[in-house]
């Protein structure tokens, strides 16, 4: 654990005189970004008509056999590299046997004892510093189909579009200690995978879901408490709500002298509570065994190295570079690198304009605009090209910061070129000292009383003169020059 993490606000549950620490581990299911499924050539497009993306293999017709999709393997390896993890040269696909209507084979092909990716780490960027979270493993598995219970009153309908879609299950070590860390961890995973292009991280579409393992222990205790697993939670908010409820429930049980049963629980988002689904005794016996239809997956050193060579700059490296090269604060760098599209936008803007101004304008005005309109940065109404033009206009002194804000608003309507706006609206900053002097002289002659008062010591009136000059110039006067000339004239 990083030294700095100790400074982070602790998440502790207090009852009576006891303080409990919450220990959290996540099993994140991330859908592999790929055109076709893990073992078949069916497409994976989200939102298609039910049962239109289903091959004979996905529907488990007699005699149909799985064939590994090489692209999905590469995606898993890429992700493993992004998690600083060990890539296993030999991994095995196993069958996890259970019956369910939306599981056509009667087993899920997954990886049990020999996953494709082993131990790794993810670095969280917390307000007071970094914390490293251990990754236990990453393995590939098939998604199941979907049972739909609420369309037909008498029947359950099954949609197999998802059946066979590749998932990466990323299992963390029980290193998370607070709701903020969970939030930060999920966001970091998502960020890494989006940088790599291995998962779109779209939680609304179910591309990222998690099983949450929660246990509590008295503060200072070294031993882990008995954990409960909360299945299939599909948003960060729900994860946090579920953990908070579950941790408090466990503390209550312990405080009343009870003990925690290891069990699987469900989170009811409407009632905001977790409920027991099945106890350890009722746990399925999945009868895992190596899938005899698939040979062990053996990876060549060169195959892995070729993938390594093509790994793009990841958020941690990019952050470091932004801090070193652009002299950004860690806070600013974090904001700019956490999302790959934001970082791309930033780099495009800053390539052609002042870095400091670019940082301020993106994290300030642009983020506010996107927030207000509920848009992603990829949908930004202002292109990076035009934003860099605006910044250059400020930098060159062609316009003032204040005018720039007006122009920014105008730009957002159809990505207008700021240079054209300046020209059309005549918003160019007045920086000619002779012209400014004329205006200033006029203001001074029109306000003899205030001049007298100022000279007699009422310094605050300086602002009055500046305001009058700006007003008279229609806001275009170069504020710095106005200051200089005014001072000269009044003193």
């Amino acid at each position: 654990m990083d030294k700095l993490s100790k400074e982070n606000k602790e998440y502790l549950i207090k009852r009576n005189t006891n303080e409990y620490e919450v220990v959290i581990g996540l099993e994140v299911h991330a859908q592999v970004l790929s055109e076709s499924k893990l073992f078949s050539t069916s497409p994976t497009k989200f939102g298609s008509e039910p049962n239109t993306q289903v091959s004979l293999v996905d529907a488990a017709f007699p005699g149909m056999l799985p064939v590994i999709n090489e692209f999905c393997i590469k995606q898993a390896i890429k992700t493993g590299i992004g998690l600083n993890a060990k890539i296993n040269k030999k991994s095995i696909f196993d069958r996890k046997n259970y019956f369910y209507a939306d599981l056509p084979q009667g087993y899920q092909i997954s990886q049990y004892k020999n996953p494709i990716v082993g131990e790794g780490t993810v670095t969280l960027d917390l307000p007071n510093g970094e914390k490293k979270i251990g990754i236990e493993r990453l393995h590939l598995e098939q998604d199941a189909g979907k049972s739909i219970h609420d369309i037909d009153p008498n029947n359950t309908l099954v949609d197999l579009n998802r059946s066979g879609v590749a998932l990466m299950e990323i299992v963390s070590k029980p290193d998370l200690r607070s709701l903020d860390e969970v939030n930060s961890y999920i966001k970091k995973l998502r960020s890494i995978m989006r940088y790599l292009g291995t998962c779109d991280g779209n939680m609304q579409e179910g591309s990222l879901r998690a099983d949450v393992n929660v246990s509590v222990r008295k503060k200072g205790s070294k031993e882990l408490g008995t954990r409960c697993e909360i299945k299939n939670v599909n948003s960060i908010k729900f994860m946090q709500m579920a953990i908070d409820y579950e941790a408090n429930r466990q503390v209550d049980v312990l405080e009343e002298g009870g003990s925690i049963d290891q069990e699987t629980r469900l989170f009811d988002t409407k009632k905001n509570e977790t409920r027991s689904m099945r106890s350890k005794e009722d746990a399925h016996d999945y009868r895992y065994f190596p899938d005899p239809d698939l040979l062990p997956l053996e990876l060549d050193e060169n195959f892995i190295n070729d993938i390594k060579k093509n790994i793009p700059e990841l958020p941690d490296e990019k952050k470091k570079r932004f801090i070193e090269k652009f002299k950004l604060s860690p806070y600013e760098a974090n904001i700019l690198v956490s999302d790959i599209d934001t970082s791309k936008y930033f780099e495009e803007v800053s390539k052609n304009s002042d870095v400091k101004l670019a940082t301020n304008w993106i994290t300030g005005e642009l983020f506010a605009l996107l927030n207000e309109k509920n848009l992603e940065i990829t949908e930004s109404p202002i292109s990076s090209k035009n934003l860099s033009k605006l910044i250059n206009l400020i930098k060159k002194g062609t316009i003032s910061g204040k005018i720039a804000k007006t122009i920014f608003e105008l730009m957002s309507d159809g990505d207008k070129d700021p240079e054209k706006i300046v020209e059309e609206k005549g918003l160019k900053q007045q920086s000619d000292p002779k012209e400014l002097e004329k205006i200033i002289d006029k203001i001074i002659s029109e306000n003899p009383k205030n001049v007298e008062l100022y000279k007699s010591g009422k310094d605050k009136l300086f602002g009055f003169f500046v305001g009058q000059v700006m007003k008279s110039s229609g806001g275009k006067a170069n504020p710095q020059l106005v200051n200089e000339i005014l001072k000269k004239k009044l003193n």
Binding site: L56, P62, G63, V67, I68, N97, T156, V158, R287, P292
Partner: protein, 485 residues
């Protein structure tokens, strides 16, 4: 001209190529005989009308470059055939009509073959006598009320009775070689990975292998050439250079070293089996081959190993037959009830027995003691063969410990039924090729077979040895058409 049905497959091919006979004539001849032979119950599904149409089409536009030009063939009902019902001998697939073709049958179609029907088999290929089929027992043409072997019992019966000039079966623990031995025909189980498993109803994936069943060794070579191919739809298919098995067939076995495993002399082995084996050895020696005693020390463990590995895989492979997507569905109160009723009513006893054994050996707490240990023993058995092949080119054994038995004789004693596979099962566990050829008769006049086991992908070698034995052994099947009035 001799009767069409009495011609060998390669002779039929030659005569069609020489335009001496037409595909329609040949197809008609085998269909006529099939229609007269319903008593054998060899077929589950007939495709006669469609086959005749195909034969006519072939004759109108013949392609004599094909390896099976307009040749009619009936195949085991474990191969999925597009638009032709495929049941695997089970009620649960009683009305299942695939929209796709297995690679092996597609290879047959690609070479000009015509499917005239689907042949009976033990349910999901689980059985050694064809008595577990939902579609009833099959008669061995050798004698009434004699089993034809299994699981490819419909195939061996139809072949021996000349309802099809050749056929294909599948062999998981002996299901091609044992029925071939019981009917006086030739059956070859190729090396695992030689024939694609795509579109074959799976029994035990790591053991299943399709192979030819024919009247003689040359036909066998021809059929193997047709059906063996690399297939990227089967991840266990092996991309090796397939031979021109028929062209390269050669009876010269001079200098070949043939191993005789002493562990195959099982207790209580019938004297006639022992004599048959000796006869085989003598032929090899007479033809310049060398007989070498070899050691396969783990042979005793093969059968128990097989009866752990095969049911384990089967229990999982058969999970897909749940009434949800296709096949038989029983009504239930809820999903679980529907599963239970569908599978209780849809599967027969032997299949259920094996699903239960398989489920048990994979269960947590038992996995290490059974499945894992069986996999380790399997490795040892394979090592035995690897070791033996350092000294010999091939291995000669009997195909089965006895000749065909009566229908009903062993149905209540699964273990004695399983013992039938004692000589064939180790070969599947090791993934090796082996051929059974008819070599003699027992005192009742029932046929007995010899098995030649080869090195992996060395099919040509065992075909050659089998060819040499066939030439010297003068075997003749005594079939008197008792089932035809």
């Amino acid at each position: 001209m001799s009767n069409i049905i009495d011609l060998k497959l390669f002779e039929l091919v030659e005569k069609i190529k020489k335009k001496e006979i037409s595909s329609t004539e040949v197809t008609k001849a085998f269909i006529d005989r099939s229609q007269k032979s319903k008593k054998l119950n060899s077929y589950i599904t007939e495709n006669f009308e469609n086959a005749l149409q195909k034969a006519k089409q072939f004759d109108e536009k013949p392609d004599f470059n094909k390896k099976l030009p307009g040749i009619p063939l009936a195949v085991k009902d474990l191969f999925c055939t597009k638009n032709i019902r495929t049941t695997a001998g089970s009620k649960i697939l009683e009305n299942f009509i695939p929209t796709y073709e297995s690679t092996v049958t597609q290879n047959i179609l690609n070479e000009g073959g015509i499917i005239i029907g689907k042949l009976n088999c033990d349910e999901f290929a689980m059985g050694s006598s064809n008595e577990t089929s939902f579609f009833g027992n099959v008669q061995n043409p050798i004698s009434e009320n004699l089993v034809p072997g299994g699981s490819s019992g419909g195939s061996s019966s139809a072949l021996a009775a000349k309802l099809t000039p050749a056929t294909i079966g599948t062999d998981t623990g002996g299901s091609i070689r044992q029925p071939a031995s019981f009917t006086g025909t030739v059956g070859l189980k190729p090396t695992y990975g030689s024939c694609s498993r795509y579109g074959i109803v799976a029994f035990a994936s790591s053991l299943d292998q399709a192979g030819p069943m024919t009247q003689n060794v040359k036909d066998c070579a021809l059929m193997l050439e047709v059906i063996s191919s690399y297939d990227n739809k089967d991840s266990t298919s092996v991309d090796f250079k397939r031979g021109q098995y028929l062209k390269d067939i050669n009876e010269n076995i001079k200098g070949k070293k043939i191993g005789i495993p002493k562990q195959y002399r099982v207790d209580g082995m019938a004297k006639e089996i022992e004599e048959l084996w000796k006869k085989g050895m003598k032929i090899i020696e007479d033809n310049g081959g060398e007989i070498i005693e070899i050691n396969l020390p783990n042979t005793n463990y093969a059968l128990p190993t097989y009866y752990i590995v095969a049911p384990a895989e089967a229990s999982s492979n058969l999970a897909r037959y749940d009434g949800v997507k296709y096949g038989f569905r029983s009504k239930g109160e809820n999903l679980i009830d529907m599963y239970e009723k569908t599978r209780s009513e849809g599967f027969g006893d032997e299949v259920k027995r094996r699903i239960m054994i398989g489920t048990y050996v994979l269960s947590s707490g038992y996995y290490d003691a059974y499945y894992l240990k069986a996999q380790k023993v399997r490795r040892l058995i394979k090592n035995d063969f690897d070791e033996a092949y350092k000294k010999v080119d091939a291995i000669l054994t009997p195909s089965t410990p006895s000749s065909a038995f009566k229908i009903g004789e062993k149905t209540n004693d699964p273990v004695s039924m399983y013992l039938n596979d004692i000589f064939t099962v180790p070969i599947n566990l090791a993934g090796l090729p082996a051929i059974s050829i008819p070599a003699g008769h027992d005192k009742s006049g029932y046929p007995l077979g010899l098995q030649v086991i080869g090195k992996a992908f060395d099919e040509q070698n065992i075909l050659n040895i089998a060819y040499s034995i066939e030439k010297n052994i003068n075997f003749k099947n005594n079939i008197n058409d008792w089932w035809i009035n």
